[in-house]
Amino acid sequence: MSIANQVWIIIAAYNEEKALPGVLAEFQSTPYQVVVVDDGSTDATAEVALRYPVTLLRHVTNLGQGAALQTGISYAVLQPGTQAVVTFDADGQHQVADLPRLLAPIEAGDVDVCLGSRFLPGAQAIHMPFSRRLMLRGALILTRLTSGLRLTDTHNGLRAFKLPAARQLQLTYNRMAHASEILARISERKLRYCEVPVTIRYTHYSLTKGQSILESVNVLWDMLSARMR
């Protein structure tokens, strides 16, 4: 039996009233449980989400994507029967069709964490700008140096965690450095991980909502300041 109906999809949304309906509509015909974390949006994100069969958690103030994902994860691991949690971006860049492939290694018990990669053979990165490719290269090298993980894509928002791994995540970087924090956690807890090819569809919308290359400065800053006492 498939574990699909015991899988929680975590969608962190900040001012995503435009893209969210498209994403949630795609989940309607799937068995997955969906939790939307509205990260203190000032638009109709919450109202939009409630039109779909989802659980909605609302941050009363904006904390950042890392915090929103952790809220969703904290909720999901408390629900009875949960087998796995998946992080899924709200802007429509991920494909629901990639989920079975992402969950298969977890279901088979081979790994604790399965990460989506847009650079593996078979993956597609549709309309990816060159600057993005360059930035991700840099992140890759940094990750290899800091965590020792050999990955092809370090900042892919599509990831699946088996329940015990999800419990161990405990993300503390509220903003965008959580991507690096997840990898650090995999490394320090010696979680078994794998990557599977997934398709990322860059749209004008997802690019304007997405991270500029300068955001990497913020990420580094967050990581360094977290070492302060």
Binding site: L50, Y52, T55, L56, R58, H59, V60, A67, S225, R229
Partner: protein, 125 residues
Amino acid sequence: MNIVTGQVVFLIAVLAFGWYVVRLRTVLTDRLILVALTLAALVAIISPDTASWVAHRLGIGRGADMLIYFFIVFCLFRFVEIAADRRATQKSLTEVVRALAIQNAQQGQARKDGGMNNRGTQSSQ
């Protein structure tokens, strides 16, 4: 480039400070440093000659120059203290906001396919 003793001393102070920030900070040592710096400031104000004498020994020249250096170190110290406090506050805020969000979980519309909604608490029409 002509490096004087004072520059070396202050360079070491700044580096040691970096180490202190990352590894050694406690509320007690923070306060001790604050008291020491305040006392040093008092001495410099009451007795400018003492400041000049110390500055001279360090090769900095004027006592006023040395005060600027001290001021910089002092500001750095306060900056770090405030930043760390801010981080701690942010952490508590996150916990509160998260707990509220989870407590007030809302269910969206029930599924149209006749299946169970999330958590199986609401069945659809």
